[in-house]
């Protein structure tokens, strides 16, 4: 794999990580509209799922109405999907899908803690987010991708920790999200890219 591609792949995971971790700013919206993500999507892969997801992503961006309160509406949707937790939300935590009791910060969190500690990494902010948050896992994956020597480890990480639940997460987002939602597209893209990664 080319170095350039490797970097783009890491960038893609970081892009997705950011999408699930923080609301879109007006600047982000402008950049997406300019097609700033296209470079990164090049690294996404060429499979049918991926291409479909990227297309959905573009559709979502194109569907954004040209209104000043777009940022607010997107923040509301972000909050509803990932922060509020009700019947119309999709928890971005591995434990929510893998733990029988539905408790957060379950075994996947503990495994992530061990992984991060071994890598000498920790959350950059004073934040009590459980470490099996999708964004944290994607960020970790991006780090692994950036190291050619860690290729095998990255593959195992995707297979063991992410793929077991990203599909269900993607379905949950799709079910709860509004039509043409960038978050539904992002979740689908995430799942597709990870499947193709192996």
């Amino acid at each position: 794999m080319l170095d350039r591609e490797l970097n783009s792949q890491a960038a893609l995971f970081r892009l997705l990580s950011g999408l699930f971790f923080r609301e879109l700013t007006a600047q982000d919206i402008a950049l997406y509209r300019e097609g700033a993500a296209e470079d990164i999507f090049l690294a996404a892969g060429r499979g049918t799922r991926v291409r479909q997801a990227v297309a959905d992503f573009r559709t979502a961006i194109d569907a954004w109405p040209d209104q000043p309160d777009l940022t607010r509406d997107l923040s509301v949707e972000y909050a509803r999907l990932f922060l509020l937790f009700s019947h119309d939300s999709a928890a971005p935590y591995a434990s929510a899908y893998l733990e029988a009791d539905g408790h957060l910060a379950g075994a996947p969190h503990a495994r992530m803690q061990a992984r991060l500690a071994a890598a000498g990494m920790a959350l950059a902010t004073e934040n009590g987010e459980p470490l099996d948050h999708l964004s944290i896992m994607l960020e970790h994956l991006a780090d692994l991708c950036a190291q050619p020597s860690a290729h095998a480890e990255a593959g195992a990480f995707v297979a063991d920790e992410l793929l077991p639940w990203t599909g269900r997460f993607s379905s949950a987002v799709a079910k709860a999200a509004s039509p043409n939602s960038i978050y539904a597209a992002a979740a689908r893209l995430c799942d597709a890219v990870l499947r193709e990664y192996l």
């Binding site: 950011g18 300019e34 990164i40 009700s86 019947h87 939300s89 500690a117």
Partner: protein
Amino acid sequence: MTTRRTVLKGLASSAAAGLLGPSILAKSASAATTSQGTWQISGSHWGAIKALIKGGRVAEVKPLESDPRPTDMIKGIKGLIYNPSRIKYPMARADWLDNRDKADRTTRGDNRFVRITWDEALDLFYEELERVQTTHGPSGLYAGATGWRQTGQFHSCTNHMNRAVGMHGNYVKKAGDYSTGAGQTILPYVLGSTEVYSQGTSWPVILDNSKTVVFWANDPVKNLQVGWNCETHESLPYFDDLRDKITAGEIRAISVDPVRTKTQNHTGCEQMYINPQTDVALMLALTHTLYAEGLHDQEFLDIYSLGFEPFMDYVTGKGDDGIEKTPEWAAPICGIDADRIREFARLLASDRTQLIFGWSVQRQQHGEQPYWMGAVLAAMLGQIGLPGGGISYSHHYSGVGVPQSGASMPGAFPLNLDLGKVPQHDNSDFNGASTVIPVARWVDMLLNPGGKIQHNGHDITFPDVKMAVFCGCNPWHHHQDRNKMREAFQALETVVTVDYSWNATCRHSDLVLPACTQFERNDIDMYGAYSNTGIVAMRKLVDPLFASKTDFDIFTGLCARFGRDKEYSREMNEMEWIEALYEEARSANGEAHPMPPFAEFWELGEVRFDRGEDWVRHAAFREDPEINALGTPSGFIEISSRTIGKFGYDDCGAHPKWMEKLERSHGGPGSDEYPLWLQSCHPDQRLHSQMCESDAYRETYAVQGREPVYISPQDAAARGISDGDLVRVFNARGQLLAGARVSEDYPPGVIRIHEGAWYGPEDASIGALDTYGDPNTLTMDVGSSKLAQATSANTCLAQIEKFEGTAPAVTAFGGPVEG
């Protein structure tokens, strides 16, 4: 080697770099821990616990080894900490954030929230307090509501909220509470104390001396699982002793209740079935029999009571209504055979009898009357103040009946401003409105600003409230008539709520601030709210999850907005406060109740005191009624109260009376349309609304994901309902979905949904179907009477039908949605 830096470098030329934002991971020096985990002690309403902390998370929770009867609810604690419903970040309702007091209030509850930073959140909180104080004055702010906060003497959130908001300005407060509103108002006139929160005769004394024990509308085995402070469960083993004594024929115990209670099932006591809400009629007939058969203790009445004659005139038919309250009169009302009433009266008078009342019977219309009648009945039996005799209104609560050690307990974080300090807005002009309102009437207050009601000898004028602050209290569970409340909430411009989980109060708020749970902070608590058995260290188990903070930090931050954070915190941190509270108790206890120095205590996790002496309630009064006078207006038991009589209330007169209710089952008013009496008593598997969100534990009792509604086999069969069916329960006030539990414990005409079930309406409209099963969707919001103005939750009729079609999703909780 490629680093994260080169990733960005590779993209530097591209616009894409701008999309990536700051990394959420950073290099950390902390080494990997290979800990086997440590066991930490903490306390809770559910008892003292030990938690296994492994890898920075609570891996396991178990009761303290010394807990004699741990409650099953301990199993729900993990689900409470790691609940998907946790409030993760400060959130603001989008429309409110943009438009503030001009926002559309009809959309409250529609879940359009956005995340804001802590700084923004506290600025908003402060700006709104400032706006309301400046524009409307203190009568525009309601911050008095309180509830069963999480345990811990220092972090007690009620105190934090009151001190911080009070430091900024004055506000409308509440009087009384939902649990015992009618009882705590009437009993001071009758027995000279609230009684409901008083220590009761020690259980060993009752077990040794009583020949008959009557549990009147009371289920202690269910309710003693939880306590106001860290519960010791020392009272529960006494029910095993009681069971043994009943089996051995040494004690007869009778449960006067329409329902076969958990206590009855546990002890094997007898049941005296009674139609719901007719207890006063039964007691009147009992007093009639006692009097007619000369079984009453006239000497006791002469020495210790006042006003027996006017009451007896009423019973014997010489009163205004001219009706003699014979057993034959009571029989059709109560559904009890007249001869059985007579037998019961004779049994009560035959030997030493301990009457033990529960609280739910006073949470009904005219809820003052059954408590007053209970005291009258006990006075006629003449055993008040004798070991194993007389009356109690508290033996189901927080370990009452376990002797008190006499040790001093740690105090709490100050609720008040420090001596000599005044609020930032030192304004006491409430525009002629009352500063304190009876708590159960605050929704009426919102609907009727400037309106007047009578309350306990005073007139109350409702203030025009524009902003409400709730902290660690969930009025969207404990108040009655959800749909009326939804409408009333539209009167509020701003609602600020501090809590740890997305309950319905948060969902109907404008600004929601995430507090951490009690397991994410250090604290100290008394072990045994009445027994003062010891002091328990509540050691922080894990760091606050997400962006949550302790109430102390939140309100210190608020006070910093107006420059009084140092005064607020006294420049002491969490551990300094805890140590100070501990050392204060230690010094007060001196050599009488030795305590180790703080550091040692914190390591040990608990300190225990010697068990207290057995004790008999009202014994001092009985011994010398003159010197140890009761706190009644006369100092004696007031069978008739001239003081109340002079208030001139039509729904609470000079002596206890039987009054028909607005709604009553078994042939009473309204029963033709809605034939089932809905009982919404204290839950068996949570503490009010606390822990309802604990998903895995909830699944152990929920039916098809809904709150169970308990129903008799007869009523179920008549409606084609089987156990486990989804049903719709409804009346003119509202509708809810619940899961049917058909049980022989329930008689025809009686259904039960435990209070505390989270409200999860289908949508934001008024009248929307509640998808989980909050009984207060159906209950009536009227005052018990002009005396107490307390809740009348248990005056409620409903109908039930099998639910057909596709059930809407439960909206009350968070949690993953399976794709």
